[in-house]
């Protein structure tokens, strides 16, 4: 029998760990209930799409030309138009957050448009406090304007000002629904919670209750101790991962285009990196409160803020962008979003996988170095 690893001891420890997971209500909540809850929150509660943005319209000119333009605005599926009497009222409505922007069609609009040498003024005011929405409003407004120009030119039997028209298609997420990328992203958060928070808590609890001391005084080796924490929580994490995928696809109707096998592979790499970090934390902190604090700051918050799951990395300051390269969750978010929405894109998955592999080796290796078979 190998001295550093006895199969019997490892099996006994894993069995103990499994029984503890099954009997401890808090582990069950973190592993099974919390993920489903998070999925539903991200699936139904949070929506980053700006479909049907409220805008205002002040129609000072009532000519047919102006009305036709107004009709085009009303007809846009992305805009919800409220008509107002004057500019003042619209300004107030925008300040109150009721509308995101407004269009003023001035009195001399149809007059000026008929004169070939003049340009017709059309005032568009947009609430810039939320830049994403602002650019969304701007783009849609421009679309309506172009549509109206085209329509007008055809009616007048003229050629449109330009031959080029832009027909855009959203690939990978054709309906551009944020749910389709938020949900795969939120699976990352769930994996982080299980991998880092749960493991760091259970190991810290062994220290607090004095059971670790009893284990250390038995013939258990360092390898067995580490593996007995890694294996059960790895299985728990993978079960939870596929539970999440199942809920996402079946209940939340998120399309899944990649291969489950590839997801399992990359999920395993991310999970081992998370578990490694969790074990490292609990090796350094020996009480549950400190371990939870550390896990929250070292794993959960970066996964939420810096992984590109909610906040786009390209719009972050460059320094922060550089930092995100060190966050394992970033690579898993990219990988899982790709697997869900685009399918198996090997170059991207391989580079993400390589980084996750490196970080797993780093965290587990460091934990192995820091694990002493002593109390100090």
């Amino acid at each position: 029998m190998n001295n550093a690893l006895s199969f019997r001891r490892l099996r006994a420890l894993c069995r103990k760990e499994t029984l503890q997971i099954l009997r401890d209500p808090s582990s069950n909540i973190i592993a099974f209930i919390l993920p489903v809850l998070l999925l539903f929150i991200f699936g139904y509660g949070i929506n980053l799409d700006s479909s049907a943005v409220h805008i205002g319209l002040v129609l000072e000119d009532t000519s047919p030309e102006a009305r036709r333009f107004a009709n085009n605005l009303y007809g846009s599926p992305y805009l919800q138009v409220t008509t107002g009497l004057n500019q003042k009222a619209m300004e107030q409505a925008m300040a109150a957050g009721q509308i995101r922007g407004f269009v003023v069609v001035p009195q001399d609009f149809s007059e000026k448009i008929k004169r070939p040498m003049e340009t017709a003024p059309l005032q568009v005011i947009i609430d810039g406090s939320e830049p994403n929405t602002a650019s969304f409003v701007q783009n849609n407004m421009r679309g309506v304007w172009n549509g109206w120009l085209l329509q007008r030119a055809t009616e007048h039997g003229e050629k449109p000002a330009t031959d080029i028209t832009i027909e855009s298609r959203f690939w990978f997420n054709p309906s551009a629904e944020s749910r389709n990328y938020l949900i795969p992203g939120s699976i990352t958060i769930i994996m982080t919670v299980i991998g880092t928070l749960l493991t760091s808590l259970v190991v810290a609890r062994e220290w607090e209750r004095g059971t670790m001391e009893a284990l250390l005084a038995s013939p258990v080796t360092r390898t067995e101790l580490l593996l007995s924490k890694l294996i059960p929580y790895y299985i728990l994490g993978i079960v939870s991962l596929f539970l999440c995928v199942g809920v996402s696809v079946v209940i939340l109707k998120v399309p899944f285009r990649g291969s489950s096998l590839v997801l399992w592979g990359i999920g395993s790499l991310f999970l081992s990196s998370s578990l490694g970090m969790g074990l490292l934390i609990s090796t350094l902190m020996r009480n549950q409160f400190n371990a939870a604090q550390a896990a929250l700051n070292a794993a959960f918050l970066p996964a939420l803020m810096l992984s590109g799951f909610v906040y786009e990395i390209r719009s972050m300051p460059e320094v922060i962008q550089a930092v995100t390269y060190l966050i394992p969750a970033r690579y898993f978010v990219t990988a899982i979003q790709t697997i869900f929405q685009a399918g198996t894109v090997w170059p991207l998955l391989l580079s993400s996988g390589l980084f996750l592999l490196l970080s797993s080796v780093f965290f587990i290796g460091l934990t192995a170095l820091k694990t002493r078979r002593r109390l100090e």
């Binding site: 019997r8 401890d24 209750r209 009893a214 005084a217 013939p219 080796t221 002593r374």
Partner: protein, 573 residues
């Protein structure tokens, strides 16, 4: 004589960032088939020493050999031959008895027929056979302790290290454990038993007596008690207040130490002192001075430089509390349930002014629950708790103004300094301005806290921590004192000093209610109630309880004998 199993040579252990070494210059040898006691108060270095022997800590200096192995270099080999039971027994509480045993059997490679036979033997040995499917967390303290022992015995170790196995466990389980350990010694196993109970020292074959990292004594416990032979006496049937008698005795130059034992007073004389005449102490006409057997504790007190004097400066500055001896603390059918568990089950008692009333029982018996209801920190499920006629359910805060409360493990603020703690607690109890300043300064002077004013309580020696906790509880001069396990883990001299203050205050008319699991401490009480599994199984003066169970074979039973007999009576009923 056979060869030593464990040799310790000039061991020193200094923890990083610690001011004082946890262990200094300790040398000893432990022999097979013997039980060696590591005896001393909290902070003596007992746990550190056990962990050093188990290879869980590295010594700063010195060498350790266990069965010829170096505990650090040869940890893997060593752990096959030792059994170690840490404090709190190291059990997985969400695993059943059987699962805990199986885990440890697998870890120690006990398999096949051997495994079956070992389980059978250990379950019989520990009487745990009927409980194999019960979760370890749901066992009583005594049963946990036995399961912990069974788990450490699985690999048939040569050396058994038990860290405070008897603490807080009921006296019956404690005696059973001793019996079990003696069986093991007959099989040739070496046992190390650490304890803060000095009476347990007398049961060991060899003792390492430790205090604050120093080895005070190493040898047979009889050698230690022989040092004070013919110096222990009991004053029987004194007239007048026995608390005042003790005060006079402790201030007498011939007396080194003294305690109250029910109606009697036990004294230890100083070395080479002439015989004591009871007239010197004004003990009354009927009083007799009877020689008694010396105790290990007496010798420990001498080694620490003798007990404190009999005067309590704290009590002297108190104004006497006037009033008749009417009932001022009362529990009527007091009950507290947590889910399906009844922690306190229809408890009744009444305490008169100027009395010391004690609740005595093992950990988990329901003492602290009753206690917290009496000071309004927990609300009873049914029944009434009254202090000074005030129903605590209705106006707890009004009653609490009249209380001084000293909680288990001294509830001090660890990150405030000593001075800030004093200021804070005096402020909480409504002291302010000049009076607050005066009282805080008095406390600093009485308890000699001046050198520690800017230190935090966590860095204080245990004795000073206890003084500070007492100071915080009595600054507002409450007529009633509630003390929850006030002296657990402190050295006997500090315990004496504490009781000197309490006795002095009681003489001034303060009423005291105290919980304890120290049988000896119960002797200070005027009346005690024995608490077991949530119920009061007996109540009365210490002498009444002891005489109730006296038999021709045991005419002079101890408090522990009384407790065991009364519990067994209860179980048989």
């Amino acid at each position: 004589m056979s060869e030593a199993l464990v040799t310790l040579e000039t061991i020193q252990k200094i923890f990083p960032n610690a001011k004082k070494p946890a262990l200094t210059n300790l040398s000893a040898e432990l022999f097979p088939g013997r039980i060696t006691g590591l005896v001393g108060p909290d902070g003596a270095g007992k746990t550190t020493l056990i962990r050093l022997i188990a290879g869980l800590l590295t010594p700063t200096a010195g060498t350790i050999r266990v069965t010829g192995l170096d505990p650090i270099q040869d940890a893997t080999e060593l752990h096959k031959t030792i059994g170690y039971m840490p404090q709190k027994f190291g059990l997985y509480e969400d695993l059943t008895v059987q699962e805990n045993l199986e885990l440890h059997a697998d870890l120690r490679n006990v398999i096949g027929e051997d495994r079956k036979a070992t389980f059978k033997r250990l379950l019989e040995f520990t009487d745990l056979s009927p409980f194999t499917t019960r979760l370890a967390g749901k066992l009583s303290g005594g049963m946990k302790q036995k399961l912990g022992l069974a788990c450490t015995l699985l690999g048939t170790p040569r050396l058994l290290l038990l860290d405070e196995p008897g603490v807080g466990v009921d006296p019956i389980s404690r005696r059973e454990l001793w019996k079990m350990v003696h069986d093991l010694i007959d099989q040739g196993i070496t046992v190390v038993w650490s304890t803060a109970y000095l009476d347990e020292a007398e049961l060991c074959e060899e003792v390492l007596l430790m205090n604050e990292g120093q080895l005070l004594f190493y040898g047979k416990p009889e050698e230690m008690t022989n040092r004070i032979r013919n110096r222990s006496f009991q004053i029987r049937n004194p007239s007048g207040s026995r608390r005042q008698l003790l005060e006079r005795a402790l201030s007498h130059p011939k007396v080194m130490d003294g305690v109250i034992q029910g109606h009697h007073v036990r004294l230890v004389l100083r070395a080479n002192s002439s015989p004591l005449d009871l007239l010197e102490l004004d003990a009354g006409e009927n009083a007799e001075l009877i020689p008694v057997n010396p105790r290990f504790e007496d010798a420990f007190i001498e080694a620490l430089g003798g007990g404190p004097g009999g005067d309590s400066v704290l009590a002297q500055r108190l104004q006497p509390i006037e009033g008749d001896d009417k009932t001022i603390i009362e529990a009527i059918e007091l009950t507290k349930t947590f889910g399906t568990f009844t922690a306190t089950d229809h408890v009744n008692f009444a305490v008169k002014r100027g009395e010391i009333f004690g609740l005595l029982g093992p950990n988990g018996a329901g003492k602290s629950t009753s206690f917290r209801m009496m000071c309004g920190l927990l609300s009873p499920s049914s029944g009434t708790a009254r202090v000074l006629g005030i129903d605590l359910k209705k106006s707890a805060s009004l009653a609490r103004q009249q209380l001084g409360y000293m909680a288990q493990k001294f509830s001090l603020y660890g990150n405030l300094t000593v001075h800030q703690n004093l200021n804070f607690f005096s402020g909480v109890y409504g002291l302010k301005g000049h009076r607050q300043k005066m009282i805080v300064n008095d406390m600093i002077e009485i308890f000699k806290l001046q050198p520690f004013l800017h230190a935090t309580p966590d860095t204080l020696p245990l004795g000073f921590k206890q003084r500070l906790a007492l100071a915080c509880a009595v600054m507002h001069e409450p007529p009633i004192l509630f003390l929850d396990e006030p002296t657990s883990g402190v050295d006997p001299v500090t315990r004496r000093e504490f009781w000197t203050h309490i006795n002095g205050m009681v003489e001034k008319g303060v009423t005291v209610m105290v919980t304890t699991h120290f049988m000896d401490e119960a002797e200070y009480c005027d009346r005690i109630a024995l608490v077991f599994r949530g119920k009061i199984i007996a109540a009365g003066t210490p002498d009444q309880l002891k005489s109730e169970i006296a038999t021709p074979e045991n005419p002079d039973p101890t408090m522990e004998d009384a407790f065991i007999a009364l519990v067994q009576e209860q179980v048989h009923e």
